[in-house]
Amino acid sequence: MPVDHQELNADRNQGWRSELRGRISAKERSALPRVKMPELAPMERILGFLEVNVGLNEEAAVLEARRCLDCSAPTCISGCPVNINIPGFIKRIENRDFSGAARKLKETNALPAVCGRVCPQESQCEAQCVYQKMKKPPVAIGYLERFASDCERLAGNISLPLIEKKSGVRVAAIGSGPASLTFAGEMAKNGYAVTVFEALHELAGVLSYGIPEFRLPKSIVRSEIAYLEALGVAFERNVVVGKTLTLDDLREKGFRGFFIGSGAGLPKFMNIPGENSIGIYSSNEYLTRVNLMKAYQFPSYDTPIVRGKRVAVIGGGNTAMDSVRTAVRLGAEKAMIVYRRSEQEMPARIEEVHHAKEEGVEFLTLTNPIEYFADSDGRVKQMKVQKMGLGAADDSGRRRPVVIEGSEYMIDVDTVVVGVGTDPNPLIPQTIQGLEVTKWRTIVVNEETMQTAVPDIFAGGDIVRGGATVILAMGDGKRAAESLHAYLTDKDGGR
């Protein structure tokens, strides 16, 4: 997405900001140490589902904001899939204009409190920070994003943008995860009447069923939804598009444009013997039971979960880390990550791996399960694994795991969570005529516009990418909104 340099410069050249820049020298700024995120102690946090990262206080946030050099040509913004005006919001924090900082974030990002918590900043904006060239730790952009949006929420005065002209043209988003929510927010700001259709009884997709409370409190997700409702976005729960209503039904109801953000909801299993034994979950099921259905509060909530004592989680991504740390909180005495490559190749965020280790999780890397064994009731009791070595790099640039013959051994387990990835949900592509689908069952779009083979249908997030991050999904939603707006404006002058 192109960065609007004119707007950035106009913001940067405001009097208060020039004055703020002049107050402290770049040398002094760069000599400040990077702030540390205060966290709950491991022994305390594993007793429940409280958020691990506590958040910065005002003084710490202002001090960290001071580290930002307010570069004339900021490189950080190019690392952000939604092009947040990063120096713009950070300098407002330094200036103690916290609600101004939150407004600046919301100009480009409908879900800053979420992104401040779950974005992999270390490989995006912070990876492009000018401090990287100076071999210094980057400005803690993510912590500051979280701080500004938390401030606004806790103060209770959420500001709403002025919507200049409401055309009332109806558009629909299918799925209510981060891609659709971003799309909905952008279209509402453009004056459209947006309805978001969600299959489950709860909104926000992976933010609700996938990411645990200890990493993303659901109260924050709810308040981000409330913000969208205040913008005029309508939400319909328990509607499985393709089943409850078809796209043609929606066209008949007067919807003029569509965004598909139905996600990569189908869990992958490894198809190894014994995998259907009791106590073997997909990470989707394990996390959904806990996060969406509140099984950690069973029997106060009706949905149960197997509370394993010896839990193996297969995989090395963020979902695997979320699952294994959930197992710890559900009382596992031994919680293991079993991953076929080495720690270096793990796709999980470093912070998640670090937190998992602090919480006592064991890492069995270069190890792969090949068979499960159950007792007479069908409950898993053991898994056979084999050791792996690393061969030449594969398509992903990571070294390919190779089996070490004769290295098999058994591990006692009573719960296994398979977190080796997900496939796109086929329901939508199957029920809409004319969509083009890849062999991985993702929907084909024009990468610039996110438009599908059907002109009034746009798509983004994991249904297009196959399994990526919240922020990339949000970037897609944003681009799709711009394109759909242009498409509809072109078609009938925006009426």
């Binding site: 089943k243 209503l245 869990p267 009791i278």
Partner: protein, 275 residues
């Protein structure tokens, strides 16, 4: 919220609810199900759609009291509401004209069998219903089935109604007697297992509709997975009907018992909390 507009007690353990769900009532086809959540703290449970009235915008659910969730839902009265109803889910029954179709229903399984059997009859098949229950009091929908079936055979374990014996006795009577082109079996897993073993001996193609544990019901979680012909399938999106001769019923029966201990804890707590 989905309002309950009618309630009828069909037997000591079985209750029929007619529920407002306009969109579902228009789209549903025989064989499909809904996911229901009774209240804010409730489980998501799959319930097969027993009937629908698109003009009234209602669907009919028939529920057997087993654990906490089913007790909670059967205690609701007309005017009260279910928190959530989502559907119609799963694939509809593939209904075609084959000749003679044998509809085998055990216990509360007669409820989901009813719309499927009716659809086969409407498609021009000769329809023989074999309905089984523990006793007369627990047998449901006999009149409704008999209204369109060409023949209805009743089996009760204690002989209090119809013939005495398990359902497979009644099924085999028909199989011995005449050519059957398709059998549809719905009921407890054990009943479906033995029905499948029997019809296989007679080379009669058989489908079973499975009611496994589910959470989302849209293919997301895999709680409902079963082995069919040695391959893992999801009941919610690949089913709920499968070739009964290919289903690994023993694995399915074990998986149905996943939460036996937790269900007891939950149910004991629920019963204590009730006046």
């Amino acid at each position: 919220m989905n309002k309950i507009v009618e309630k009828e007690v069909l037997s000591e353990n079985v209750v029929k609810l007619v529920v407002e769900a306009p969109l579902v009532s228009r789209k549903q086809r025989p064989g499909q199900f809904v996911i229901v959540r009774t209240d804010e703290k409730g489980e998501r449970i799959p319930l097969t759609i027993a009937d629908a009235d698109p003009d009234r915008g209602t669907i009919t659910l028939i529920i057997q009291k087993v654990g906490t969730s089913s007790h909670k839902i059967t205690r609701l009265n007309p005017g009260e509401s279910l928190s959530d109803v989502s559907g119609p889910l799963g694939r509809a029954t593939h209904v075609e004209t084959l000749g003679t179709v044998l509809a085998c229903g055990g216990g509360v399984g007669i409820a989901p069998l009813y719309p499927i059997a009716r659809a086969f009859k409407q498609a021009g098949n000769r329809l023989i219903a074999v309905l089984g229950a523990r006793n007369r009091e627990l047998l449901i929908l006999e009149k409704e089935m008999a209204a369109f079936a060409d023949e209805t055979i009743i089996m009760t374990d204690d002989g209090s109604h119809g013939n005495k014996g398990v359902i497979t006795v009644g099924i085999e009577e028909v199989l011995k007697r005449e050519a059957v082109h398709l059998a549809v079996a719905i009921g407890p897993a054990v009943m479906m297992k033995f029905t499948a073993l029997l019809t296989k001996r007679y080379n009669v193609p058989t489908i079973a509709s499975l009611n496994t544990i589910m959470v989302d019901g849209t293919g997301m979680c895999g709680a409902c997975r079963v082995s069919v012909g040695g391959k893992t399938r999801f009941v919610c999106v690949d089913g709920p009907e499968f070739d009964a001769h290919q289903i690994d019923f023993d694995e399915m029966i074990k998986r149905l018992n996943t939460y036996r201990a937790e269900e007891k804890v939950s149910f004991d707590g629920y019963m204590r909390s009730q006046p």
